[in-house]
Amino acid sequence: MEQFIFSSKTKRLTYILMSFGVIALVYGIFLAVSDVDGAHHSGTRLWTNLLINGFFFMGIAASAMFFFAVNYAAESGWWVVIKRILEAVGSFLPVGSLVLFIVLFAGVAHQHHIWHWMDAEAVAADEVLRGKAPYLNWMFMAARQLIILGAWIFMWTRFRKRSLEEDLGFERNRHFKNVRDAAIFLIIFGYPISTFVPWDWIMSIDAHWFSTLFGWYVFSGLWLSSLVVTTLMVIWLKKQGYMKDVNASHIQDLGKWVFGVSFLWAYLFFSQFMLIWYSNIPEEVTYFQVRFEEYKYLYWSMFFVNFAFPMIALMDRDSKRNFRSLTVIGILIFIGHWVDTYMLITPATMKTHSTIGIVEIGLGLGFLGLFLFVVLNTLTKAPLMAKNHPFFEESVHHEIH
């Protein structure tokens, strides 16, 4: 059985990345405590970055689970050789959720007011927030997020447990239980990821603004990021000499997913933007106004990179089979989607006071290190190939043109 070994060299890399994160965290806390401008901007900055990274990496883990469930529910065969990677990426879900809840309860304890509806004075002075108070109050938010994220984590442990059991011997009933659970997961994932999860954690920062497309937009970006992570992990593992059963057709299919979901993301971006631009209603355009005026170059270059790069570079069949082009584009749009998440949150919390400095980059790298550490650690716990999956042989012989 092929087993992944977490080499000390790779471990060291994740430790270095995590130490960047710790340095940035300490620096961020120092800035927050000293509070030079007296307006709590540094404190908001620190919590904003924890929210960005917590949400981004939690979303990647959850979307990997979603892709796992899609393939199970559709009873597709090609993906079985990458099944363990999706499971491993999903294992970051509890850690990411924990970070989100730390940010949430720090807000409840008035350490920050990223969500200004948590500030009783602001709500008292604001008719709109008073009207939204039955939904936007911390107890209800904590309760529903606990149920949603808890249910996802619960489903992950169930899938994982059965997946490890399957290594010992195939059983018909277990497989169909997985198929049934996958269908259930699609429901308990699909509704919250397009509604409560992005609404609560991100959209409610701009408590006056709303968009019904917002959840889909956020989800498509996260899903794409998780596909990019999966693709890069497969390529990296193959470079290390693992995963002999993954052939060029699997890589091409992953490339197609990245290509296709990039279009989904760009389509949703544009659909949301164009309706707001066309109707030009004051309470709606404020969202884009702050992004276009304060973050003009970063915002548009983010859109350009995330849309045009995969479109042009991954259109050709050969480039989807080529490790180098997939790696370059993958890394670029991974950074692009991190910046997209940054753009979802920072303009709303920091307004005109944002910077990209040690705190942003350091915490981003730190979370990446933590994410890789957790994921690779899970990967060592089971053989890389789920050999007893009924479609394993089909997957090994997967061939497309």
Binding site: F270, M274, M315
Partner: protein
């Protein structure tokens, strides 16, 4: 004059084609009612260039749509729709994107379909080129060109074809 081997099963045809190719016989063409997986590699069909043509038709559509709308709506007869400023293309371009997209798809799809029909000469009123009427129904055919195959005589080819499990071998 060409030589045809008719089969009633695509699996038998694939095996037959493999046998013929392994003996150094060039299979000129295969006729089938549906695409046979992997046959193009076995008989060595060149990679299709329809994707490149499709890309070119697509960017032609994009260019035409953007150029057309900027001429109609901005230059020739400026129109104010929804109170949007109309004195510069860049200020109106988001409104043009959906139509540009649709026109790109229209041009790419029609261009590719027409190219395919013309390239294969399967236009309305054109005489069908399949060797046997049943290759559009439930039979499959291998086409050999005996003049191009130097190593084997026509009689050899006929017997070789028969050995691969044909239901009929005929000339046309």
């Amino acid at each position: 004059m060409k030589l045809y081997g008719l089969y009633n099963d695509d699996g038998v045809l694939v095996d037959g084609a493999k046998t013929l190719v392994s003996k150094g016989i060039k299979v000129n063409e295969v006729y089938s009612p549906f695409p046979i997986h992997g046959i193009e590699r076995i008989i060595g069909v060149r990679w299709t260039r329809i994707a490149i043509a499709g890309f070119l038709y697509g960017i032609t559509g994009t260019t035409l749509a953007l150029f057309g709308m900027s001429y109609f709506m901005i230059q020739d007869w400026p129109m104010i729709i929804g109170g949007k400023p109309n004195f510069a293309f860049i200020l109106n371009v988001p409104a043009f994107i959906p139509i540009t997209f649709e026109f790109t798809v229209l041009c790419a799809a029609h261009g590719m379909a027409l190219t395919y029909f013309i390239r294969n000469w399967t236009l309305p009123g054109v005489k069908a080129k399949n060797p046997h009427p049943r290759t559009t129904d439930d039979h499959f055919a291998i086409e050999l060109v005996p003049e191009d195959i130097k190593d084997y005589s026509k009689e050899d080819l006929t017997s070789l074809l028969k050995e691969t499990g044909t239901v009929e071998v005929f000339e046309k």
